[in-house]
């Protein structure tokens, strides 16, 4: 075996064919579909003067939409980190009837088209809907308010936290918890001092993924939001509105701001995932 592995390692490049073809096609396809169109977006903003650009991305209506989009996404991601964390815990640690079905259903928000999610949540939370009718007497309005935006974003972000925390919980060594318990720690102490630090990177990654997805979300939100300018209008919808009024420059400018925010989050997610990997590797050794 070692005699075979040695030449393979030193000449790994040349033994398998197709490097040029596969990488060439990859780069061509990537450039045509993703890179050139995105570059066109950035180039388009250069047709605007700096003043016009700043005016377009800081008008009061856009600022209100940023506050709603980022605020609601943040709240939804927090709800998901708590409830999604509990769901991940319950699904990995306990056995109860229906667990496997629920586990498979967790991905529903990924699989269900956003428009279907949007009209369904709106119908459920409308004043006469299945859920809205119980909330109306309490004075809680969900459909066509900012609270509705949060509900839609919680739905959309639900799988992210669960699916990033679940594998970490499954791999986590119960021996550590047993050691803590045998040294006299109560379950809550064990959780806070032992388990939580282990799953923390995964929780944060799930949070960042849910947040990033929520910021760009369009289909599920526009039905339930009511879309009132300055009140319940999200930034992606505002971009569409500008496009429909043929104000391409303003739409592009706002899109660039959103895109830069997405890139920043992508970077944060990559760093978090690298951290998670380092953590789990350190535990293994």
């Amino acid at each position: 075996m070692p005699s075979l592995a040695l030449p393979a390692r030193t000449r790994a490049f040349r033994v398998i064919p197709g490097f040029g073809l596969s990488l060439g096609f990859t780069l061509l396809y990537l450039s045509l579909i993703v890179l050139i169109p995105l570059a066109a977006l950035f180039l388009k903003t250069f047709t605007l003067s700096w003043h016009a650009f700043v005016a377009a991305v800081t008008s009061p209506r856009v600022m209100a939409s940023y506050r709603l989009t980022f605020g609601a996404s943040l709240i939804a991601a927090f709800v998901n980190i708590v409830l999604g964390g509990i769901v991940a815990w319950v699904l990995t640690r306990y056995r109860f009837p229906g667990r496997k079905i629920l586990d498979a259903l967790i991905d529903l928000p990924f699989a269900l088209p956003t428009a279907v999610a949007g009209i369904t949540l709106t119908t459920l939370y409308a004043p006469h809907g299945w859920l809205g009718r119980w909330l109306a007497p309490l004075g809680i309005k969900v459909a066509f308010t900012r609270l509705g935006v949060v509900v839609a974003l919680v739905f959309i972000g639900l799988p992210f936290v669960v699916r990033t925390v679940q594998p970490v919980l499954e791999e986590a060594e119960r021996e550590l918890e047993e050691a803590a318990a045998s040294l006299g720690a109560r379950p809550l102490q064990t959780f806070i001092r032992v388990t939580l630090p282990i799953i923390m990177p995964a929780l944060l990654t799930g949070f960042a993924l849910a947040f990033a997805r929520a910021v760009g979300e369009y289909g599920s939100v526009i039905f339930i939001a009511g879309n009132m300018p300055m009140v319940s209008e999200i930034t992606p919808l505002f971009i569409v509105t500008e496009l429909e009024q043929y104000d391409y420059a303003a739409a592009t400018a706002i899109a660039v701001v959103m895109l830069l925010a997405s890139f920043a989050m992508l970077l944060a997610i990559n760093l978090l995932q690298a951290w998670t990997r380092r953590r789990s590797r350190a535990e293994e050794s």
Binding site: R95, K100, T120, E177
Partner: protein
């Protein structure tokens, strides 16, 4: 070690209180805490997953089966279904081909800048669907970079089928590649090297050595890619132009019906997409189970 593997390999759900047997009582939370946690999780999942899913079908059938089938068989609905199937039939194979090429190039060879390439492949996931549509408007629209040239040559991309396909390809771009790359990386290159050294051609190596190893991961990526391709709303809505019967996909048709206050018909058509989602989840679970058993087999051989 053997004990750990055998207990996790045993069929789950064989006994309801299985973990109690495996985990010492000292580590378990008190029963009331367990009940509260399970209760919270069940209420949350019921409210956010099960009730909405039930509501789609209940609303779809509100006016009875006849109205349901009438809504699906109506001309515009059939046109939307055809367009969605056509879009997926182009976008999914295109991204499948890309996914195979990208994973072969990235997983079987080492080169500088691999990490950057991986990040760029993931890029479409972090771009808002609305922006994915917008970039094609800027390229192919009347005011866009290529717009005047396209108009001169009488080629329609925006507000036509090609634009819808392009936007769909963009949003479903990473699915197959990001499923295959880690899988192929974990499998290494030894089997392919052996095949090539024994005289197999590159294609033959791929068909007979690599493909059997990655088939379940490949299927998994295709399932996810297809679900998104058929369900995409934001990006397609920006480039479609909403011409009834011509450039409306199923999700866009749902929106039109809903905005016309034709709720029963909107949910009837939406229920098709919900069924697609359920099928996707079922297939996903099946493929995950195959992937897991594929992983476990070499383990058991070692144990034996």
């Amino acid at each position: 070690m053997a004990a750990v593997i055998s207990s996790s390999a045993a069929p789950a759900g064989a006994g309801v209180h299985r973990p109690a047997a495996r985990v010492p009582a000292a580590v378990m939370e008190p029963p009331w805490a367990r009940a509260v946690l399970i209760g919270i999780a069940l209420v949350f999942l019921a409210l956010f997953l099960i009730v909405p899913l039930a509501a789609v079908f209940a609303e779809a059938l509100r006016k009875g089966w006849d109205a349901y089938f009438a809504a699906i068989r109506e001309d515009d609905a059939l046109a939307a279904i055809r367009l969605t199937l056509l879009t997926a039939a182009i976008a999914v194979p295109a991204n499948l081909l890309f996914g195979i090429a990208a994973s072969w190039g990235i997983a079987k060879f080492s080169f500088r800048g691999k990490q950057v390439l991986l990040t760029l492949i993931d890029l479409p996931f972090s771009v808002s669907p609305v922006i994915a549509g917008l970039v094609y408007v800027l390229l192919f629209g009347a005011q866009g970079w290529l717009g005047p040239w396209l108009q001169d040559h009488d080629i329609k991309i925006l507000f036509a089928v090609p634009g819808i396909v392009l936007a769909t390809v963009f949003v479903t771009f990473p699915f197959v590649a990001r499923e295959l790359i880690p899988l192929m990386e974990s499998q290494g290159t030894e089997e392919e090297e052996a095949a090539v050294v024994l005289g197999a051609s590159g294609w033959r190596t791929f068909w007979h050595v690599t493909l059997p190893n990655i088939k379940w991961g490949l299927l998994y990526g295709v399932i996810l890619c297809n679900a998104r391709a058929m369900g995409e709303f934001g990006a397609v809505s920006v480039v479609s132009g909403h011409i009834r019967g011509e450039t409306d996909t199923i999700p866009l048709h749902v929106e039109i019906l809903y905005n016309d206050y034709n709720f029963a018909a909107a949910f009837a058509v939406a229920s098709l997409l919900a069924l697609l989602a359920l099928m996707t989840l079922a297939l996903q679970s099946f493929v995950e189970w195959r992937l897991r058993s594929q992983h476990r087999e070499p383990f058991q051989e070692q144990e034996a």
